[in-house]
């Protein structure tokens, strides 16, 4: 298992840098992962997206569809890609502490 050190804290991650132990996630972890991706400041929109993805994961065990993210948070589709330049999977889901989704992402 690989590790990722951000600001002195060491996390166990998979090869793609997704949290290996999703249960240790909290909002401080989210901030550190975002910082690692170059997102120095998380806006209300970032948080709305991250919290929705996290809630979906805790309730259903997977990442939500982009439609649900847009409709629940009210953030426009194109804006999501600007807020998370790595995309909803490698960007937002990773910050929300989810395992890497399957498929071409």
């Amino acid at each position: 298992m690989a590790t990722l050190e951000i600001d002195g804290r060491v996390f166990e991650v998979d090869g793609d840098g997704f949290l290996a132990t999703p249960e240790i996630w909290n909002e401080e972890v989210a901030q550190l992962f975002a910082k690692y991706d170059g997102l120095t400041e998380l806006t209300d929109k970032h948080w709305a997206i991250v919290r929705f993805i996290r809630r979906n994961f805790e309730e259903k065990g997977n990442a939500p569809m982009i439609r649900s993210i847009c409709q629940d948070t009210g953030v426009k589709l194109r804006e999501i890609y600007e807020l998370f330049p790595l995309g909803p999977a490698r960007g937002a889901c990773r910050v929300a502490g989810l395992p890497k989704p399957d498929g071409c992402v």
């Binding site: 998979d14 569809m65 995309g87 890497k100 989704p101 399957d102 498929g103 071409c104």
Partner: protein
Amino acid sequence: MITLSQNQIDRGLDILNNLDNSKLLTHLNSCVHCGLCSTSCIYFLADQDPTLTPANKVDLLASIYRRYFTFLGKTFPAITGARSLNDDLIPEMVDKFFGACTMCSRCNIHCSIGLDIAFLVRTGRMMLSEMGFVPATLQSTVNAALSTGNNMGITYDEFVDTIQWLEEDLQDELNDTTASIPLNQPDKNVMYTLNPREPKFFPLSISAMAKVFHAAKESWTISTEMYDVTNYAFFSGNLAEASIIAHRMMNEMEKLGAKELILAECGHGDRAFRWEAPNYLKIHFNFNIRTSIELLADYIKSGRIKVNKNIIKQKVTLHDPCNLVRNGGIVEEQRYVLSQTVTDFVEMTPHGIDNYCCGGGGGQLAMSEYNERRMKTGKLKADQIRNTGAQIVVTPCHNCVDQLTQLNSYYKLNVQIKTLAEIVADALVLD
């Protein structure tokens, strides 16, 4: 720690003990060790590690063949460099065949005697698959496709809700309530497919294609049962599983009775179904198959849709997906489309059939354990992109889009990555 059973060894060797496969035997026994393949390979170019050359991967497989199926190899293994299929060899096979090759086939076109090296690597993957050593991350993507019908495990309701949401947006954008994304309609001209990453996370390309279909007044549909154009089992080396997935696509085409299957922008989806499935299914398809790239070129050339090349003003370059150019023969169509939809186009060096793989093919994006190596091999592509000075990189492959998006962030390229359909939709002139 690996402990191989005799049964596992036998199953692995059975893949090589295929005397009616003259291609396999010829290509296993013909490498002349000229070394020309080395500098064709993105893994060798990125790392300068001699163990990563295509010839070394061929020799890894050929050495096992020699040990079990040739007189000299059986009698004097040490002299002939023959190696036993044992516990120690498995990690090396997994690393070389799964972790250090995208099967992009660039070595094939540089090979002095024309060996199909990517085919030999895939044969190595087939052995590992038979023995149960497919990386769990890749297998999990295959399992999702087998158990849910698409590789991201999207449910029927989630899919239909997403398509309806996109349809409403399209109608708003076009101010036209007849614009639609028809589901499960029988007897249409076209059954269109998707990469599951589109409905799950990146639906702009679905909207773009729907807009183009609307402009072309196409009679088309998407199946909710089988829209997934990908077939990762082709990469994991499990042809039985690949056959199940390909059969589903074939059956759905026949059920809906569409005249033509249009494959989404997905390099391996095109290769695994259109070109390879007739071989592993051992059948001929009784319907037409084209990629959306060919369809878009056809729409523009025939005047069925109108485009204005002055709308997109940024400098644009093109990344050729290996599975489309080298393994699918689709080279000029994407260039024709761009010649009609953008004004400032610049080629990468090299490009076309000699293009470098992005580093994400062959299932690499699914295998987390090779992420670091994938970013390292991707530097070649990142440098190519940077050298063009382009602001937009177009690539007709969703898998390449994902790798390029990650490279964009990792190497701070500051470019936009788009599919071909998105470019055409942006350049579209509606009546």
